[in-house]
């Protein structure tokens, strides 16, 4: 089946040479995705601020435009005209390059996200692999920012980045493998089509692991150690201002949006849903996931760095391994009998594992003798 973009290209190539059609279709597709992402990010910034306001018994920005909807635009304008300060002894090239390295991969993720049936920029047959590969590039950018700023707080954040993102990559990828096993393909479109029953029901444990891992990957509360403002001021972007800071800011929200989209696609059944048009279903699910992220941010304190690592290596990682093993066994024998048997087994598995871990596993108290 052709995606909308391929149909558009076929339509163009009737009148134009093949290379021109390819180029034009590509550029149009990129701009559509870019427009979609940036608009949504701006809306989400406003949405998060308003929602946080609600959680914190205050109003949030509500002056500019109806319900303060223009506030992010004002913020963006303010940031754009601010002076761009670079520390004297910073590594200027790295310092300049870092925001781009953070921001671009976030946009690239959206290329493989199906917004609706056929509404996808590139229906790669290795979509999930692409997600994982591109998604972790921004860690390099964050590390560059921390290293290039010549600031000790930023440096601490940079070291934390490497530790945190590399550690959480493992449980995230392992829990994704569970999904891939069930679909039998790496394509994102196929993943959505395979979800007659959303995978959150089929694999509740996989979903939880992926969600927690994703929180750490996009450094959101309670895993926001990279910019832990109460400890290391603003972490890796302490020395950034103006447009470069805006890139980090957008990148952060873009990341959150990207993960909300990925979770929607992989676990919540993507655009599928009754009555409403598919695109609207997709948006509703993304907003729901994003709201959950904001809720956690408003409620939870932050973990400490060693507890964070312990949580990844002693908690999520073994659970993800067990999960993938069980799913593999199920796919071999159980799934042919009944899909609901798989669901039941997995729910039991999730409950048992979470209870066991919460009983047996204590996060370290963490004093070091010096």
């Amino acid at each position: 089946m052709m995606t909308l973009l391929e149909e558009f290209r076929a339509w163009l190539s009737a009148a134009l040479p093949e290379w021109a059609a390819y180029l034009i279709a590509g550029i149009v597709g990129i701009f559509v995705v870019l427009g979609f992402v940036l608009t949504l990010v701006i809306v989400f910034i406003w949405y998060e601020r308003r929602l946080l306001g609600r959680f914190q018994i205050r109003l949030g920005p509500n002056r500019l435009g109806p319900e303060g909807i223009f506030q992010p635009i004002a913020t963006a304008l303010k940031i754009l005209i601010k002076e761009d300060v670079v520390p004297e002894k910073a590594d200027r090239v790295v310092h300049w390059l870092a925001p781009i390295v953070v921001f671009v991969p976030v946009l690239m993720v959206f290329a493989v996200i199906p917004l609706s049936q056929g509404a996808i920029l590139a229906d790669l047959n290795v979509g999930v692999l692409y997600l994982v590969a591109v998604g972790s590039v921004s860690a390099v950018g964050i590390y560059m920012a921390g290293w290039g700023s010549n600031n000790k707080y930023a440096l601490i954040a940079a070291m934390r980045t490497v530790a945190q993102i590399v550690s959480y990559e493992l449980p995230v990828v392992l829990s994704l493998l569970g999904v891939v096993l069930m679909v039998g393909s790496l394509s994102m479109t196929k993943t959505v089509e395979a979800q007659v029953v959303p995978f959150i029901v089929m694999q509740p444990l996989g979903f939880l692991i992926f969600f927690l891992g994703a929180l750490a990957e996009m450094n959101r509360c309670p895993f926001d150690l990279l910019e832990a403002d109460s400890e290391i001021v603003a972490g890796y972007h302490t020395e950034y201002s103006g447009m470069k800071f805006a890139m980090f800011y957008l990148g952060e929200y873009g990341h959150a949006l990207a993960y909300a989209c990925i979770i929607t696609t992989l676990f919540l059944g993507g655009w599928r849903g009754p009555v409403l048009p598919p695109f609207l279903w997709f948006l509703i699910k993304v907003v729901a996931v994003f709201s959950l992220i904001v809720w956690l941010r408003a409620t939870l304190p932050r973990l400490r760095v060693d507890q964070l690592m312990a949580f990844a290596w002693k908690g999520l990682f073994p659970m993800a391994l067990i999960n993938i093993f069980v799913v593999a066994v199920e796919m071999l024998w159980l799934v042919d009998i009944s899909r609901w048997l798989v669901v039941a087994t997995n729910i039991v598995l999730a409950v048992v594992l979470i209870l066991a871990w919460s009983r047996l596993f204590v996060l370290g108290r963490g004093r070091v003798e010096v």
Partner: protein
Amino acid sequence: MTLKTEPFILNVGPQHPSTHGVFRMRVTLDGEVVVDLEPVIGYLHRGIEKLAESRTYTQIIPLTDRLDYLASMTNNFGYVLAVEKLGGIKVPERAEYLRIIMAELMRISSHLMAVGFFLNDLGAMMTPVLYMWREREKIMDLFEMVCGQRLTYNYMRVGGVSQDIPDEFLPALKRFIDEMPRFIDEYEQLLSQNEILLVRTKGVGVLPRETAINIGASGPVLRASGVKWDIRKADPYSIYDRFDFEVPVGSTGDCYDRYWVRIQEMRQSVRIVAQAVKQLPAGEICVKVKQPLRLPAGEVYGHVEAPKGELGFYLVSDGSIAPYRLHIRPPTLINLTALRDMVIGWKIADLIVIFGSIDVCLGEIDR
């Protein structure tokens, strides 16, 4: 191959989001682990002790507002008590009760700030603070009713208080007393059993009982370490012996205990205020004191249980209209003596949490 590492020095503050003012810590770090720490203070030093030597006794009261600016009423209280102790001035009943009400409301307000910002230091993005500010705002409103100020009250006078409470004060206060225990329950529901709060604070920054006494810690820091020492009970000043309240005591002296003691103290303060409102007599609010006030030559040490610990005023008079010497014993400066001991070996994130659990106010440390 062995990697060569070396510790590095990080200046936390004086401009840092979690140093509660202009406090600076010169921290030596080995990676994330704190190896050494040296507090550097004095950024807010205004020479209040020297200033006081050229002010009359009444003119010093506004200076005391600016010590621990989160607990101005208590500072007023401590100072006028010391002056009255030296001058042998008897205060009218009604004024005594009003002072107690204000001091205990101030304690609630100060502890609300302390607990809220302690959670902020833990990384709970502003939510607990804003919930606590909701109630602190009500206390500020009450203070505004009695003295027209929301931060530096300058309410108490030698011999009483500056003005009587307005009619709308008592109903508002009663409503506050009725509501507050439920709000404290709400905080506890939100926080006390939170898994992340527990792993971040239990066993972290332990201050053993003996050390706590030896470094002269006071207030919640001392009580969290298991010492049942509250000046309101141990050396009852004003009319504290008339009230029924308990002194919450921690067991291990870790950050969680300090947090817990503050929460419990708020409950006790509400109890005291409720009793004081019930017993509040009518009558004079201030005795006439000859102005400018002259105290007999001599010296006195008056201390009160401020929200942050023992606030002492050492007053030497030579019989003139100004004190010969006024020394203020700042509770948090002395509590900070323990900071280095408590943080060595913990991570930089714990450093912030432990520092937050002491609950400092730089106006008082630097004076």
